[in-house]
Point group: C2
DNA sequence: TGGCCAACCGACCGAACGGTCAGGCACCTT
DNA sequence: AAGGTGCCTGACCGTTCGGTCGGTTGGCCA
């Protein structure tokens, strides 16, 4: 709690309600009254725990960033495996993490939507940076120890994977409406096919 | 003009200001007073031309969808060329169109950000559908007349291209902050490399 | 010349906003 | 028993919101 107070059952309910509402409606569309009602506390109590609406939002966002970051450790030190399999597992895991907590994902993605340089830098440091670097390392290892082509930039390949997962997460409903799309409700199938295409391209006959 | 009135120099300024402000600040953060001031008209005049804030937003969004859709004709009937070159040109053109009118793009992408099924369907019909279908056609032709592998779904490949361009447009500032990214200010280079990877994959030595 | 109507404006309205404040209540320390 | 402290509340504040209204202007047609 940024305020002088400690965490409480009520303050946890406030943050939970704020996360849900901010993610679904957006910062400006949600009033403190809405949050207080959803958390079943008085409006004044919200201001007891958080100095302002802005501070409540920042705290909520901070927690969402934290939970989005926590994937990293799970993938520490699996260096013995094939880069291609590492990549596949990582893309699948990243996609699942994003889909498992849609409110947190949505809040972070909204923040990343053409943010100003300062916020973008913070988000890179807090959330995207580690995953991105991890992915570039997989690509670099594939280039140095495997047979991957060396004229493709690891950063660009990692961006493409990040793009694939972000798009799937952020625009799933649009995907669902697009003709010929049968993978909108099967993230594993999507991740597998994306990695397949990335690895082998589309020109080579399978 | 949805209202009983006709278009005016002032009403055009109102829509222009609304587009700019809605795209940059979001619907709820922008007041009619802000728009009126930016358009240099009175607040009452805004309500003279548009029945409500919501109606002004819908009209603004409608125009943005229109301008996003207008690319299609430019690519009608170039069937004689190589699918690979068609694809490259299309991805480049699509990216440029998005970057040329960032406010319109941002408004449409915000609307597409996990919209409800009804809105998503409208957006697909109004904006994404045509481009998406055009891209799937290129992939299908590549599979039938060229040597492209037939086990990859055209819809998935088109989604991946859409994802690449959307991500570049929506999260360019984040890209700029990511280590090793040197293509954040060179969309043509980005589009070329993305298409290169899609065509040949990353495993084959160049 | 007179009537009409769209374009436009200043002033105003009730509602909702973020935020404040004095005080009640439960619990701890002395 | 007394005082202090953190949690919590209802009532209230000034401001801003979307929207309305009465009225003025200026061009067009009869």
């Amino acid at each position: 709690m940024p305020e002088h107070t400690g965490p409480t059952e009520a303050s946890e309910r406030i943050v939970a309600a704020a996360k849900r509402l901010f993610a679904r409606e957006g910062y400006s569309s949600v009033s403190i009254r809405d949050i207080a009602e959803a958390a079943e506390v008085s409006k004044a109590n919200v201001f007891h725990h958080f100095a302002s609406k802005e501070e409540l939002y920042v705290e909520t966002l901070r927690r969402c960033c934290e939970s989005a970051r926590s994937l990293i450790q799970a993938f520490a030190e699996d260096a013995g495996r094939e880069p291609a399999e590492q990549l596949r597992d990582f893309v699948r895991a990243d996609l699942h993490r994003a889909l498992d907590d849609p409110d947190a994902t949505r809040l972070v993605l909204t923040e990343a939507f053409d943010a100003n340089p300062c916020r973008a830098r913070t988000l890179v440091n807090e959330v995207f940076g580690a995953d991105f670097q991890r992915m570039t390392e997989i690509f670099s290892r594939g280039q140095h120890t495997g047979s991957w082509r060396r004229d493709a930039s690891p950063a660009l390949m990692a961006s493409l994977m990040l793009a694939a997962n972000t798009f799937y997460t952020a625009h799933r409903e649009v995907l669902r409406q697009l003709p010929g799309v049968d993978f909108a409700d099967d993230p594993d199938q999507y991740a597998d096919h994306v990695v397949d295409i990335l690895l082998d391209g589309i020109q080579k006959e399978a």
